[in-house]
Amino acid sequence: MTGDPGLPAERTRLAWRRTLLTLTVVLLLQLRPAFTGRVVDAALAGVAILVWLVVLAVAWRRATGSPPRRLGRVAMPLTALGAAALALLGVAHVLGRVH
C-alpha cells in the first residue's frame, strides 16, 4: 500500500465521532419534552435513550478502534436505523401533541 495508511482510517474515525456527536445532540433535543411531566413524553425519551445506547455501543468501536480496515457491517445499518428510529419517535411526539 502506497501513501500513508493511517490517515484515511483516522479521517474515518473522526467522521464516526462527528456522527455520534450529532446523534447525541438529537437525543438531547428528544429528551427536552420529558421534563413537562407527561408520562408519554417520558416514555418516548426512555426509548430514545435505549436507541442511542445501542447505536453507541456498536458504533463506538468503529469510532475509536484500530484502523477500521474490515468493513463494519453491523455498525452502519444499525446507526442509520437508529437515526430513523429517533426521527419516528419525534413524529410520535409531534402527533401526540396535536389536538
Binding site: 500500500m1 501513501g3 484515511p8 482510517a9 479521517r11 474515518t12 467522521a15 464516526w16 462527528r18 456522527t19 450529532t22 446523534l23 445532540v25 438529537v26 433535543l29 428528544q30 427536552r32 419534552p33 477500521p68 480496515r69 468493513l71 463494519g72 457491517r73 453491523v74 452502519m76 445499518p77 446507526t79 442509520a80 436505523l81 437515526a83 430513523a84 429517533l86 426521527a87 419516528l88 419525534g90 413524529v91 411526539h93 409531534v94 402527533l95 401533541r97 396535536v98
Partner: protein, 128 residues
C-alpha cells in the same frame, strides 16, 4: 426490496462479491455514508427544533406539518444513506460504475421548497 435490506446486514454476502478493493476506497465510501447520515440527523434535529421552539404559525398545523416533514425527510435520508453505501460497496468490488442517483437533487428541491414555505409564513405573520 427485502433482498437489499437483508444485504445490508449480511457481512459474508458483500465480502464474497467481486474482488476486495483498496481499503481506502471502502473507507471513503464509509465517510460518504457518514456525511449523508449527519445530513439526515441534521434534518431530524431541525424537525425536533421546529416542534419545540417555533410559535404556532398563521396556518393551522403548519408548524406540526413542517416538523413531521423534516423528521420523515431525515429518516428517509438515513435509510437511503445505508442503501447507497451498500450498493456503492458492491459496485466498487465488482469494478462497475458507481450507482447514479437523483436523490440529492430531489432532496435539495424539497429543502428549498420548505424554506420558501417558511419565508411565506414569516411574511404573513408580519402583516396584521
Amino acid at each position: 426490496m427485502w433482498e437489499s435490506i437483508r444485504r445490508w446486514f449480511d457481512p459474508r454476502e458483500l465480502r464474497s462479491v467481486g474482488t476486495p478493493p483498496d481499503y481506502r476506497f471502502s473507507l471513503a465510501n464509509e465517510r460518504t455514508f457518514l456525511a449523508w447520515l449527519r445530513t439526515g440527523l441534521a434534518l431530524v434535529a431541525g424537525g425536533l427544533a421546529a416542534a419545540q421552539f417555533l410559535p404556532p404559525l398563521p396556518l393551522a398545523h403548519l408548524r406540526e406539518g413542517l416538523a413531521v416533514g423534516l423528521l420523515l425527510l431525515g429518516a428517509t435520508v438515513s435509510i437511503r444513506a445505508v442503501d447507497h453505501w451498500a450498493r456503492t460497496e458492491r459496485a466498487i468490488r465488482l469494478g462497475e460504475e458507481l450507482p447514479a442517483s437523483r436523490f440529492p437533487a430531489v432532496l435539495a428541491l424539497i429543502v428549498a421548497l420548505g424554506a420558501l414555505v417558511l419565508v411565506a409564513a414569516v411574511l404573513l405573520r408580519g402583516t396584521p
